[in-house]
Amino acid sequence: MTSPSTDTGAGLLRRHPDGTASRGSRILGIVLLVSVAVFLYVALIASEPDKSLDAQGQLVRIMYIHVPSAIGCYTAFFVTAVASAMYLWKRTTGWDALAASSAEIGVIFVILTLMSGSIWGHTTWGTWWEWDPRLTSTALMFVLYVGYLALRRAILDPTSRAKQSAILGIIAFINVPIVHYSVDWWRSLHQTATVASLDPQIDGLRLFALMFGMVVAMMLYVWLMMHRFRLAFAEAALEAKGLDLALAERRAEARADGGAVPPSVHTEGAS
């Protein structure tokens, strides 16, 4: 294996020696930046406002954020569920780190979905929150995955944390359709004209902006995952090292109690 510190690229591909970037993630990052610029140009400037929404036709641009971020969070939570199942099968740290990273990024996307949905709702309904079935079930999904992340923080032992959160990661995803359909059903009973969701007319460049937004969201998801996964992996390695260190200290203490070895062999490195 080559020493990692010698090859950090040059020019645009130059990377921070301590960073979580790799050659691949850097290339994807550059493509992503260009795509975001193109997306912003198409979404905000090039595409026409939606004439079917009367004077507020510009508001259709909110959809180019709202829909891709919703797709992003569903993808992220799906990956969490798959990685959780894979962890239960393979029992390797990587799958656990993948599930955790994906859930965190999913929560970020869910927040964005809720914010853009609420802003859209305000323009349509005049209030920041209406009990729209889609928005409501998304809010519940948000709390569900915040709970998942909370469980991860609560368990200290890495193996136990990985196993329990893998099970929760699967159950949480099973919950998503149940919550969705029950909320949908619940609202359809009380649905009044004021809460009708307004579906804008999307074609031409508007359709392109929406589709391209989804592509950008996917690229962003993958790029964030690369970095977040490596962070999670490094944290796991650090945790394992800390455990080894603690064990070594214990052993040294035991030996010191025996009086044979001076207790100074283990102190360096504990930063």
Binding site: L151, K163, I174
Partner: protein, 230 residues
């Protein structure tokens, strides 16, 4: 002599539920603490909403199920507090009991406690909020199905949170979004029963039944790895 897996599962479940009921009989924690809490919640709702009976009566189905959910959290915490104290959970793990049987036993114990709570709460809303139910059969079926779902989910999430230092704060946030469909379905079914329109309510019972079956199945399969790690 080979024994059917289902038989031993049910026998172990009966053992666990018997133990929990004996414990409750001796300690009376549910009777003397959780039950009064549930009634207190009903009184607090009356303070929050206009005690002029109209609002309370209209909101009775929702308030009933909210009170059930809040008391349920206490019941689940109690059900697993008795396991984690004095390393009993290690004893359960090391015992020869079928984990699925332990799950069903804990769920049945929680369910029985919940049923008692619901009966008392039901009398409470009838007396305090002056809501007169129609469709008694729908009420009973809704209660039984919802209790099964809540007990199964509660038993599952209870063991997930058991043994953690932050279990008291973690359990509500893990559990309440999950049982939101039960709150919706229970409330709608009760609304139909109170409005004397039982036909509307039965389809919500279908949702409750599906929820219960799903969580019982998940619990039976997922309890073993969870128990090992808690």
């Amino acid at each position: 002599m080979p024994e059917l897996a289902a038989d031993s599962m049910l026998r172990d479940a009966a053992m666990v539920v018997g133990k929990d009921l004996r414990l409750e009989w001796r300690s009376r924690v549910t009777f003397s603490q959780i039950l009064p809490f549930a009634l207190l919640v009903l009184i607090l709702f009356a303070f929050a909403l206009d005690p002029d009976r109209r609002i309370l009566e209209e909101a009775t189905p929702g308030l009933f199920w909210l009170a059930v959910l809040f008391s349920m959290l206490l019941a689940i915490q109690r059900a697993y507090a008795v396991e984690t104290a004095d390393g009993v959970i290690d004893a359960l793990r090391l015992s020869d009991l079928d984990p699925a049987g332990i799950f069903l036993g804990k769920a049945a114990g929680i369910g029985l406690h919940l049923l008692v709570l619901e009966i008392v709460l039901f009398l409470g809303v009838t007396v305090l909020y002056g809501a007169t139910p129609h469709g008694g059969l729908l009420i009973v079926v809704t209660m039984v199905l919802a209790t099964a779902g809540l007990a199964a989910a509660g038993s599952l999430y209870g063991v997930l949170a058991a043994g953690l230092r932050v279990r008291d704060t973690l359990l509500p946030i893990l559990m309440l979004p999950v049982v939101a469909p039960v709150l919706i379905a229970g409330t709608e079914a009760f609304s139909a029963a109170y409005a004397d329109a039982s036909g509307e309510g039965w389809k919500w019972c279908g949702l409750l039944a599906a929820f219960s079956v799903l969580y019982l199945a998940i619990g039976i399969f997922a309890f073993e790895p969870l128990l090992e790690e808690s």
